[in-house]
Amino acid sequence: MLEGLMTGLAAALSLKAIAMVVIGCLIGTFIGMLPGLGPMSIIAIMIPFAVSLGDPTTSLIMLAGVYYGAVFGGSTSSILINAPGVPSTVATSFDGYPLARAGKAGKALTIAAVSSFAGGTIGAILLTMFAGPLAEFAKTFWSAEYFALMVAGLTAIAAFAGRGQVLKAILMVLVGLMLATVGQGALFNQARFTMGVADLESGVGFVTLIMALFALPEALFLVLNPKKGQQEGDGQDKEIKDLRITKEEARKIAPVIGRQSIVGFLIGVMPGAGATIASFIGYATERNLASPEEREQFGKGSVKGLSAPETANNAASTGSFVPMLTLGIPGSGTTAILLGALIALGVTPGPALIDKNPEIFWGVIISMYLGNVVLLVLNLPLIPYIAKLLTVPRAYLIPFVLFFSLMGAYIGQNNVTELYLMIGLAAVATLLRFADYPLPPIIIGFILGVMLEDNLGRSLRKFRDLDWMYERPVTLGLLIVAVLFVLVPLASDWRARMGRAKETAQGD
């Protein structure tokens, strides 16, 4: 193994390769900030160039730089303007945006960068050590297990079900599930619930919905209530750029990073689960493990709530390389595109890769370490400047946020109907906010809904009954975990309330 790492290192540590990873990171970070252009499309765009570099290791290192850069760029727009461009950074915005709104944008970006780095690096270490056995583990997952995993992921909505709001949060997640059934799915031939609108046949676009629910209402709220933001923003220029994480915060996020890099990685190893599920499950688990006081902070600017999904989604992205490298199966859209790049370079991923092309196998792994390090080194000094974007005068910031949101759905689709849909949904979202309905559960339901139905449908076709829910141990285990995710916080809240009630009773 060490020998292999050395082979990879020798190939990677040329001046050209390092220059390429730096360039890749920079391009990835800046293009990744534009909503609508996620890692997948950026890599697709960069492949012809990477392939033209000739040497497979250098190409892969360059693409790894682009990839990690794009993932970080996506987190940046989630944190700064509540505009997650890809599903895997949705959970990042849950606590990242409230932190930025409280004037701590620099800190939030730093936590994101450090968590990404740690998740990616620990993931790479796990990949280095256990790629083989993990591939076997991935093979134990059937649709039944994926279904149970989605159910566990849905419990992340608990974070948005404040007291007296449980039913509202459930209602919102159901709305998300219903929205997810619109259009053509993977199971059935016919497009459903299109109401005769041809443009709905491909469903409601992810970017359309997320911008309508998150970015647009935020920007429009600043139009509605200009005083509100002003009070928050004033006199905080210094803090916005401040990167420092306190010892207290470091102590809080260290165990989160430790746990979520492992859990996230394992989820990423499953072909078809991926970074988004990992980020939601990471968010849900950390909320459950937190003390009741800390739990209250989730969704309002918790450093744990920011670190958990950022660590998990990066670890999962790394994990998704396991099935690609060892089985030759692309586990995610991004690895499918990278698989294409490998084949273009004359390399065939699969069980024989490590024997036949060890320099490629180890080159890929080294490129992960290198990509993560370069990203951290490159972006930490940039964070104060990126965070300063928030100090741009309102008269420019708001129109630009609206414009970027609209462009996110329009770029690469040229479909104006998506824009009308987005504007209409933004009006609905604003109304829901006034009525105290939490919006994140809609997007959680929307993202997980498709996979929930697909995996349930496949399992029912395969087994023809529901016995698999308790007959398959892993499925049963995951479903029990999901139930615990819901019950444990409820029980501890109830105990806390009982305790408080007693105190007040005695106090009176």
Partner: protein, 184 residues
Amino acid sequence: MSSRWFTLDRLIALVILIIALAYINASFNIRMLPFELRQPFKPNTYPLAIGTLTAIIAFFVTVMPPAAADPTIAKSGGDTEGWREFDWLRFAIFFVLMIVYATFLRAGGFIPSTIIFLFLGSLVLGERRVWISLPIIAVLTVGLWYLVTQVLGIYMPAWPSGFAVPFGQSAQVFNAAAPLVMGA
């Protein structure tokens, strides 16, 4: 008390209830292919389940007793306080602006439409220094258009159709190399 009972959130829950019923109705009307009728999991199996669940929960939210006034519970959306004093006019103007922008984006070309949208937006928000705002907006718009179309190779007509094209819809002969040259 009675007027406070029928609050906005109940109204919304009622609307969701109606939508859920319409959704259930639509689920029954999904056109099924002959072979699908024999399947255990039909195109409307799952929609019927979630539609019914939605209707039940929406019903409960509509009729549930008002939450007891608990001073320890801060309203989560505290930022909606004082909504009567909000700037609803500007809010509406922005919606109109976005709709008009979406409508003319294709016919009017990306560059003119975007510049006008951003310029009017900044004007509405109080930026009166046109000699500053216009150049900034124009440079950013053209720069972004260049990045997206010329560098990334994504199609987006810059000018109204039939208009002389100063930049040219240049060929994507080697689109991926361009960002590197720029990056350097």
